[in-house]
């Protein structure tokens, strides 16, 4: 989704450079963009909740059938589910699971994707083979391939990460290959090559560091997609096992009690929306920050009126 989205306020570059002595440039740029900052705040808040889950919430597995499907109240802020588990605790622990899945999917898809993208971009002989495999994997719609992989791997949190990681690796590989193709033609790479640099040196020293920024942008989108896909898989009953508190699992139970207990859908639903919304705000902002072309354009536009 590398598309410019000029709705947000252009940055004043002059001011940003003036303040760069006081704080790092990225931080000053970030603080100037309210929308990006809002995204960052949402993400930090959710991460804090996820990390501090044991201190905030009660035991998400404790059942109390006497109070099953009770409305939100002072003791159970988000109500209880069909076996009397506290929905607030489950939503809070669900945040933990979502973040764990998101982080590990990003790590895994980056290892696979950056690896094959660099190989395809740098070693021309392998380009066709590697990229055709990636095209083939991308011919499957993401959720469908994830469902099929889960069918083979069996339900577990680890397998959800592996399945979603495999699904998103080709998408990362494409972006990486694209920037490697540009970087390998630059004069500094040519110069290093003329000096007799080895492939490993070229990749590690010149190519990888320079193709990082488009990849980092991709990272926040992969993260959002991973959270969404995990929720969808669990909702369908083919994701993490049902006893694990996950937003998708809560929704899946909630679907059966929609009439009696809408809070089972509303609270985890709000959590998913808030997380994805935060990631999208943040991702859009980071993309614009790291892409000097778009940054330049927005200040041009401002000057034009």
């Amino acid at each position: 989704m590398a598309v410019s989205d000029p709705a947000r306020r252009p940055i004043e570059l002059a001011d940003a450079t003036r303040e760069s002595r006081a704080m790092p440039r990225w931080l000053s740029l970030l603080s100037r963009r309210k929308i990006t900052l809002a995204g960052a705040v949402i993400m930090v808040a959710i991460s804090v909740v996820a990390v501090l889950a044991p201190f905030i919430a009660g035991d998400p597995a404790r059942m109390d059938v006497a109070v099953r499907l009770s409305r939100p109240s002072a003791t159970h802020w988000f109500g209880t589910d069909d076996v009397g588990r506290d929905v607030l605790s489950r939503v809070v622990y669900g945040a933990r699971l979502s973040l764990v899945v998101g982080i590990w999917v990003v790590v895994l898809s980056f290892i696979l994707g950056v690896g094959s993208g660099v190989v395809a971009g740098h070693f021309r002989a392998l380009d066709n083979v590697v990229m055709r495999v990636m095209d083939g994997l991308m011919a499957f719609p993401a959720i469908i391939l994830a469902i099929a992989l889960m069918a083979s791997l069996g339900p577990s949190t680890m397998n959800v990460i592996v399945a979603i990681g495999i699904v998103y690796a080709p998408r990362v590989a494409r972006v990486v290959r694209g920037s490697v193709l540009v970087i390998r033609e630059t004069s500094y790479v040519e110069a290093a090559r003329a000096l007799g640099a080895s492939d490993i040196w070229l990749i590690g020293r010149h190519i990888l560091p320079n193709c990082l920024s488009p990849v980092i942008v991709q990272g926040s989108f992969v993260f959002a997609a991973a959270v969404l896909t995990e929720a969808a898989l669990s909702f369908l009953g083919v994701g993490v096992p049902p006893y694990v508190p996950s937003w998708g699992n809560i929704l899946s139970e909630g679907r059966l009690y929609l009439q009696q207990a809408p809070w089972l859908v509303l609270y985890p639903g709000a959590a998913i929306m808030l997380t994805i919304f935060g990631l999208n705000l943040f991702g859009d902002g980071v993309r614009d920050l790291l892409d000097p072309k778009i940054r330049g354009l927005s200040s041009d536009r401002q000057r034009a009126g």
Binding site: P6, R132, G136, I144, S152, L251, M273
Partner: protein, 314 residues
């Protein structure tokens, strides 16, 4: 022009080969021997052995792969273990609701997304633009299955305007079918329209910065003519691409949303197959959906010939 078409068709071959191989790998990825999985946990060792030779699993892996390609070319996807009929038949029984749902959702996504994207671009940075874009950002943050659940809650349970779940096949009258698909199609289409709107808007903005737009304005063309005739036609190319991609996304989204509304489509088929470990059905549905998305991509590529005259000379 013909070379373009031929090149596109040839490019499909390696992709199709990889897709077929992935379909093959899927069943071999499962822990344990496919034959014992298919036979179930309480089958005797003898039965498993018989099934193994019946399925050709005692042959070398390479030969199995070759046979697999051969069967796919003949359109043979194997037999369902649970439903006891050919997978192709099982898919044919279930494809109608999924395709109708996807089509309806795509229409909704385009009908809402393209006009709002174009309007946002025309009145760039105005209140309309910002309102549309905030809406779009909220839109892409709602997963379709969540929106579906909220619709059921709101329009089905609380207001009672639409049936909460279920599907009425075409043979009982298309009006009933349409009614049963309104909520799921809206759930899918509205979310996708947000993405379409964002792409349409940014490609319009890109085109509006081009020299020929400046030239058009300079020679005194009205703003309406500049925007809707000259700019829009050029902005169509990325927009059509995203509509094609949308169809594929919505097809897989339909698979998810079907669960909420109890629609007996491909989605229910594959999910129940996963729960029953009915691998031939899983393979079949996955390959079928991948095949449809490949054809859609081809159609999108070929549609450039109509939209963008520059493609003909390549």
């Amino acid at each position: 022009m013909r070379t373009y078409v031929v090149r596109r068709l040839l490019a499909l071959i390696p992709v199709a080969l990889v897709v077929a191989t992935v379909g093959f790998v899927l069943i071999h990825l499962a822990p344990g021997d496919p034959a014992s999985i298919i036979a179930g946990p309480d089958a005797s060792a003898d039965d498993v052995q018989k099934l193994r030779s019946q399925l050709g699993l005692d042959e070398p892996l390479v030969m199995q792969l070759v046979h697999w390609y051969g069967r796919l070319l003949r359109g043979d996807l194997g037999r369902s273990i649970f439903l006891r009929k050919p997978v192709t038949e099982a898919i044919a029984d279930r494809i109608e609701p999924t395709l109708l749902l996807t089509l309806m959702a795509t229409l909704i996504a385009v009908a809402i997304g393209v006009p709002s994207g174009v309007l946002s671009a025309r009145y760039h940075n105005s209140v309309t633009d910002q309102a549309f874009m905030v809406l779009a950002l909220v839109g892409i943050s709602i997963p379709n299955f969540l929106l579906g659940l909220l619709f059921v809650l709101c329009f089905g349970v609380w207001l009672g305007w639409f049936p909460v779940a279920g599907y009425s096949p075409l043979e009982y009258g298309w009006l009933k079918t349409l009614r049963s698909l309104v909520m799921p199609a809206m759930a899918l289409g509205l979310v996708q329209s947000a993405l379409v709107a964002r792409i349409a808007r940014s490609s319009m903005l890109d085109v509006l910065r081009e020299q020929f737009i400046v030239a058009g304005r300079a020679k005194g063309l009205g703003e309406r003519l500049v925007v809707y005739k000259h700019a829009f036609r050029n902005a169509l190319i990325p927009t059509v691409t995203i509509i094609g991609i949308s169809f594929a996304i919505l097809l897989s989204g339909a698979v998810v949303v079907e669960t909420i509304f109890n629609i007996p489509g491909l989605g229910r088929l594959i999910i129940s197959a996963v729960l029953r470990r009915d691998y031939p059905v899983i393979q079949g549905v996955v390959l079928c959906i991948a095949g449809v998305s490949m054809l859609i991509n081809l159609a999108v590529d070929l549609s450039y010939l109509v939209i963008d005259p520059r493609v003909k000379y390549r």
